[in-house]
């Protein structure tokens, strides 16, 4: 089969099947949605919130909302973009509540892992986290999705509803800024 058809079948058919399952009111769909989106969404939420704990809480809220809004998701033009938008809204809701002081403060914890065996693992993880946390959130989410979830600019642009050029420029500016922030590691 042609490679492009492979991509289309990989990316589109599962969403169509998920939407059909949602329309059938099949409770097993929750697990299918988890398998398809949980990893990407958790990474995205960690990029937005810079906290694994918060990202997990928001992910739970997102899944409950997905279930409650399943009739809308079943008819959504792009299921993936819809799910990402829900995740983004929930993340910003948490940030807003936190700014108003209505929830507990963010837990300072590591959300980036450097595999054991590397002697500088903890220090490197902390430096990378600090550098990423210093980036503006739009640049950080693009870098995380590109580097850690292997998404293309086109895929990210579709998920976030932005143009590929915007995504590419955010990535470029983010990397340039990281070059400054991580100058000591490079040298």
């Amino acid at each position: 089969m042609n490679r492009s058809w492979d991509n289309i079948l990989d990316k589109i058919l599962p969403d169509n099947m998920l939407q059909a399952a949602l329309a059938r009111n099949d409770p097993a769909t929750v697990e299918l949605i988890w398998d398809r989106y949980a990893g990407d969404l958790l990474a995205y939420l960690q990029a937005v919130l810079c906290s694994r704990h918060d990202a997990e809480d928001v992910l739970q809220t997102v899944f409950v909302r997905i279930v409650r809004k399943r009739h809308r998701l079943a008819k959504a033009r792009r299921l993936d973009a819809y799910v990402y938008r829900m995740a983004r809204n929930e993340a910003f809701r948490l940030i807003g509540r936190r700014k108003k002081g209505r929830t507990i403060k963010a837990v300072n914890e590591s959300w980036l892992i450097v595999p054991e065996g590397r002697h500088e693992s903890n220090e490197l993880a902390e430096q990378l986290q600090a550098a990423l946390a210093n980036l503006p959130q739009p640049q950080r989410e693009v870098i995380v999705m590109k580097i850690y979830r292997q998404k293309t600019f086109l895929e990210i642009s579709r998920l976030l509803g932005l143009s590929p050029n915007t995504i590419a420029s955010r990535y470029r500016y983010g990397i340039e800024r990281l070059r400054t922030l991580l100058g000591n590691i490079i040298s």
Binding site: P27, E56, Q60, F63, H71, W111, I113, R179
Partner: protein, 167 residues
């Protein structure tokens, strides 16, 4: 050093780390919560959504109109201390109305008009015929000059040279 090479280095450094995948405990917790939410919410049929929106819109429109009416009544209440009494006044006796010009003719026309109920073409035709006869008769007999208007009062009909102008 070349900018692209430096960017490549940054990407390589970033790739040394990774983001952890969701744990199985997290999956259990979240799918259990989602399953609970699934049971609590029944799936709405697609047609129910626009119908419900329509009902809500209609109810909101009725409420707004009711509110506007209430507000209008309330704000105008002070200028309307009591309802206007509409009195239906009838001419009790045409003979007593001396100021009506051409009183014999008018009396005859009015009595003819009251007695006939115009419901179809034949009745209308006979009514018109009767009226024409009355007017012809009045013209042949010579119309008596109408009484001079009383000072400060108006007449029902303006002074006309005769009924010819209406025919």
């Amino acid at each position: 050093m070349n900018e692209n090479t430096e960017n490549k280095q940054i990407e390589d450094i970033l790739r040394k780390a990774h983001l952890p995948e969701p744990s199985s405990e997290l999956k259990e917790r979240i799918t259990a919560e989602a399953a609970k939410a699934w049971k609590q919410t029944s799936l709405e049929l697609p047609w129910q959504i626009p119908v419900r929106r329509l009902l809500v819109s209609a109810a909101a429109a009725v409420f707004v109109i009711w509110l506007a009416n209430s507000s209008s009544d309330y704000s105008l209440a002070r200028w309307q201390p009591r309802r206007l009494q509409v009195e239906h006044q009838q001419f009790a006796n045409l003979d007593t109305l001396t100021e009506i010009p051409y009183s014999p003719i008018v009396r005859q026309m009015v009595s003819t008009g009251r007695s006939s109920s115009i419901t179809d073409a034949s009745v209308l035709r006979s009514y018109a015929e009767t009226m024409r006869n009355i007017l012809d008769e009045a013209q042949q007999n010579g119309v008596s000059k109408p009484p001079a208007p009383v000072e400060g009062r108006s007449r029902l009909f303006p002074t006309q040279p005769g009924f010819n102008s209406y025919s």
